[in-house]
């Protein structure tokens, strides 16, 4: 077998090769364990030493040359199929849609209460004076009914009001449903306020109402404790202290041990160690009566909390007015 011939043949062959598979076959044919180069070496193994030496060198030379053209071809193949990427180029993040932080927090709250068996209902935002005040034991002439100063109530020309609290839907549902009643009423409420970082004219509340034969402060305490722990996703210490609302008796204010300082006292809790989180109580018998339910047979517990404030606490938002700003620089952060 002529070495030169093999070389020529190999060059011709490799030029025609267009696919990786053929290139692999070529490698096996010439450079493989049973390839032509090996064959040549085995042919010369019985020749005299001198001849073996010269031929051996030539075969080696051939082997190197074939390997070279093989590698050249292989590289050219690699070059053709090589895909490049460069992640060092600057880019802007894809614009995602976003849900309002109040929506997200409201959903969380609804989910927690639903797991405790509270159904979610909604009430009207334009309310009659009767449902917003009288039904809740706030009679004509009571300061809470004032348009300005203490009452902060928005009145409409026809005498109706914009509800000042979600409690206004309590009696509506008492009239509609039969006990046991276990509902929460989230929604928008309105107050005549001079707006600042912590006061708004439009904001959100969540009202809870549970009416059954045996309902107690003890249940109230457990429900609210469970809710707060689920919401803040940590151990929470709460305390109930006396308060006053016309529509509950007894009335309590629920404080939560300040999560910022753990009760040591800091700016967030005005150095008291406690943060006021909601108002609650046992539904006043007049309110139960106004709902068409017999207060001798049924008792109720009720609570009302702001949705805005826990949202601000959760995300460390420092200005309540951002919620109704429609500012995407704010909203796209959530």
């Amino acid at each position: 077998m002529d070495i030169e011939e093999i070389k020529k043949e190999a060059i011709e062959k490799i030029e025609k090769i267009k696919e990786n598979i053929d290139l692999d076959l070529f490698r096996k044919e010439y450079l493989g364990k049973k390839g032509k180069i090996r064959d040549l070496f085995s042919l010369i193994k019985d020749l005299p030493i001198e001849e073996k030496k010269t031929l051996g060198q030539k075969i080696n030379q051939l082997s190197l040359e074939i390997e070279e053209i093989f590698l050249l071809k292989e590289n050219s193949f690699k070059k053709e199929i090589k895909e490049e990427i460069d992640f060092s180029f600057p880019a802007k993040a894809t614009e995602l849609g976003s849900l309002h932080p109040i929506t997200q927090v409201r959903r969380e709250m609804e989910n927690i209460f639903q797991m405790m068996g509270f159904s979610v209902v909604e009430g009207p935002e334009i309310e009659t004076q009767w449902y917003n005040f009288d039904a809740l034991n706030i009679p004509e002439g009571h300061p809470a009914r004032d348009a300005l100063s203490l009452g902060k109530t928005f009145y409409l020309k026809n005498g109706n009001v914009l509800r000042t609290q979600t409690s206004s839907a309590q009696v509506r549902y008492m009239q509609k449903m039969k006990p046991p009643i276990k509902i929460i009423i989230p929604g928008k409420v309105y107050r005549y306020e001079t707006t600042d970082a912590s006061h708004e004219t439009n904001f959100f509340q969540l009202e809870g109402l549970y009416i059954d034969k045996n309902v107690s402060v003890s249940h109230l305490k457990a429900i609210l404790h469970k809710f707060l722990e689920s919401f803040f996703k940590r151990k929470i210490e709460i305390r109930l202290r006396p308060s006053y609302f016309p529509f509950t008796e007894p009335s309590v204010e629920v404080d939560m041990l300040c999560t910022v300082c753990n009760g040591k006292g800091c700016a967030a809790c005005k150095k008291t160690g406690w943060v006021e989180i909601l108002g609650a109580g046992i539904v006043h018998p007049n309110v139960i009566k106004n709902g068409g339910i017999d207060p001798k047979k049924y008792k109720g517990l009720a609570f009302g909390l702001s949705i805005d404030r826990p949202t601000m606490m959760k995300y460390k938002i420092n200005d309540i007015r951002l919620f109704h700003s429609a500012n995407l620089n704010f909203l796209k952060q959530f």
Binding site: F154, P242, N329
Partner: protein, 617 residues
């Protein structure tokens, strides 16, 4: 209100716990303490007395009574002797419902001068300015007992006191020099000529105490609290006196308070009067211990309940009939007593017990579908915004809206209730364009037309994909039969939403209820075919009045049809009158085999026949 620790201590022989301890006990069992401030050798406690207790606890004696009950320490209050003289000062109360009691004395030989230091110090601790020895004593007694007092200059009062309603447009100049015009809803203290004071609120200029005053008329009265409250709020004058009179003060307190004042002023009484036609007597409430325990959720023994009530000054009679002292006019029903027991016993001792699970929560369809829409909009890259429910004239005029007006708006920009969200979304889009290139926003919220309902609206600054977004939304809500008109979206004959453009901003607004009632949650798996999809583009003429949606629906009914998409509609040059040129992209696929050209052509031919298709010439 500000309370002095030393003043409170003065009612107890025993040493009281430290101020912070007192504050904590009050916070947990009565009223919240806001802060404690050290002043000289005293501590000032800012205590948030609850509104229903303003009648008895806007006073150091009131708070001392609470402390006494809560810490079980005996409090003793200054003793007074009644000062009877035979001469009667003329007082006329026109309506005993307006003025429950009018107690008065005339004091002679009064020398108006500066108050002694101890008195000035006590007033200043509680944030009250010193004026003169007489006015200071009236204020001191008010801070001590909760009973407001008022002093008139005897020589300036013409022939006795009349407690009456003001006449329409009657005027008074108050001590602060301001003139007020009154009406018949205002209760006043007058002589036989002029008004001397707004009852329970503020004194007038006419009978003001000056350094020349020699004799004084001291008033210790009890007025109808609703009347005082309404007048104070209406005239927007709130004074230390009015905030006390706005709640029920014990009418039996007037005599004690006036006698305390006489002791302090320490001059002789020359005449007096006490008009008190309907004496308030203690009342009784029957309580049920089991009911109290059930409401609180605890077992408090009868003995403990009796002890708590006794410490609070209630008298426990036979059969748990509870006699309420007249200074506790907030206690009227058994539930009020339950609250007294609960707070004194301590809510911290009430166990935390979850109620037994009864009924699972019911799904609220409104909220469910609102949440679905919000999630899909977010997937489509929209951001949820909230706007006020209020709009102003700017929106009213530029959108020609009919609106409900708010009687007392915070500003003229917010004087109407919005009947649509669109103007606010357009405004918000413009604002946000300062910072973003692409705006896609939406809001679901109440609007107020003839009635209140929920709107789902959105706006985008580049509108070319809005229809695709809305199609994706509706499909995802299971609504496949929506018809898109030029600027409205219908299901059948009902308009469910509208679209439009204003200042280059494209918007849409749906009536949420109409979407909700058509939305479906009935996804069902369709078998996936692995056979190739055949594509045919056809282009031709159809009658102009035929709706594209109808054509698409008809084509979709054919077997083997995978999808139909119209990519061009054209009317005008080259198209005959009454026709339109339509180009469609139709894909066909079989579940069982690869489609051969003959089968495909057959289907296409049939389609063309059915929809009266005319080839373009």
């Amino acid at each position: 209100m500000i309370f002095s620790y030393n003043w409170l201590q003065s009612f107890f022989k025993e040493k009281l716990p430290k101020p912070d301890k007192i504050a904590e006990v009050l916070t947990m069992h009565a009223f919240e303490n806001e802060y404690i401030q050290k002043k000289g050798n005293d501590f000032l406690l800012s205590i948030d007395v609850l509104p229903d207790r303003a009648g008895d606890c806007f006073s150091h004696i009131g708070i001392a009574r609470e402390i006494s009950a809560l810490l079980n320490k005996k409090a003793t209050f200054p003793k007074v002797k009644s000062k009877k003289v035979s001469s009667i000062y003329p007082v006329k109360v026109e309506d005993s419902n307006d003025c429950l009691r009018y107690t008065t004395v005339v004091l002679d030989n009064v020398k108006i001068e500066q108050s002694p230091k101890w008195l000035k110090d006590k007033l200043s601790a509680c944030g009250v300015n010193s004026i003169n020895n007489v006015v200071d004593v009236t204020n001191y007694i008010m801070l001590e007992t909760g009973q407001p007092l008022h002093a008139f200059d005897y020589d300036k009062v013409s022939e006795g006191i009349v407690v009456r309603r003001a006449k329409e447009k009657e005027k008074i100049v108050l001590l602060n020099g301001k003139e007020y015009i009154l009406n018949k809803d205002t209760l006043v203290i007058a002589d036989n000529k002029d008004i001397l004071a707004l009852a329970g609120i503020k004194g007038g200029k006419k009978a003001e105490i000056t350094k020349n005053t020699k004799k004084i008329i001291l008033e210790s009265a009890n007025f109808n609290h609703k009347l005082i409250s309404q007048t104070a709020r209406k005239l927007n004058i709130r004074t230390d006196a009015s905030i006390r009179y706005e709640q029920n003060i014990d009418p039996n307190l007037t005599e004690y308070a006036i006698n305390r004042a006489i002791d302090l002023i320490n001059v002789s009484v020359i005449s007096q009067n006490d008009i008190y036609t309907k004496k308030l007597k203690p009342w009784s409430i029957k309580i049920d211990i089991e009911e109290i325990n059930n409401t609180i959720g605890i077992e408090i023994s009868k003995k403990d309940i009796i002890s708590i009530l006794s410490k609070l000054g209630f008298i426990v009679k036979k059969d748990m009939l509870i006699e309420v002292p007249t200074y506790r006019q907030d206690v009227l029903i058994p539930e009020n007593i339950t609250e007294e027991i609960g707070r004194v016993y301590g809510y911290d001792k009430v166990p935390s017990v979850l109620p037994l699970f009864s009924h699972p929560a019911e799904i609220n369809n409104d909220i469910y579908w609102q949440n679905r829409i919000k999630d899909i909009m977010k997937e489509l890259g929209y951001s949820e915004v909230f706007n006020y429910s209020f709009i102003g004239d700017e929106e009213k005029d530029s959108f020609n809206l009919r609106l409900q007006e708010i009687t007392n708006p915070v500003s003229s920009c917010y004087k109407y209730l919005r009947p649509t969200i669109i103007p606010q979304l357009i405004k918000a889009t413009k604002e946000n364009l300062k910072y973003f290139e692409r705006i896609k926003i939406f809001e679901i919220g109440k609007v107020f037309d003839k009635k209140e309902y929920i709107c789902f609206s959105g706006a985008v600054n580049k509108g070319e994909n809005l229809k695709s977004d809305l199609l994706a939304l509706l499909n995802s809500l299971g609504i496949n039969n929506a018809i898109f008109g030029k600027d409205e979206i219908k299901i059948g004959k009902e308009i469910i939403g509208k679209v439009g453009i204003r200042d280059g901003i494209t918007f849409f607004e749906f009536n949420f209820e109409k979407i909700q009632k058509n939305a479906k949650d009935n996804k069902e798996y369709k078998i996936i075919s692995y056979h190739p999809v055949a594509v045919r583009d056809i282009s031709g003429l159809i009658d102009d009045e035929v709706k594209i949606e109808d054509i698409i629906n008809k084509i979709n009914e054919f077997e083997l049809i995978n999808s139909v998409e119209v990519f061009d509609i054209y009317k005008g040059k080259g198209v005959p009158e009454g026709k339109k040129s339509v180009s469609m992209h139709i894909t066909l696929q079989s579940q069982t085999r690869t489609l051969d050209p003959e089968t495909i052509d057959k289907v296409i031919t049939k389609i063309k026949e059915t929809i009266n298709w005319e080839e373009r010439k």
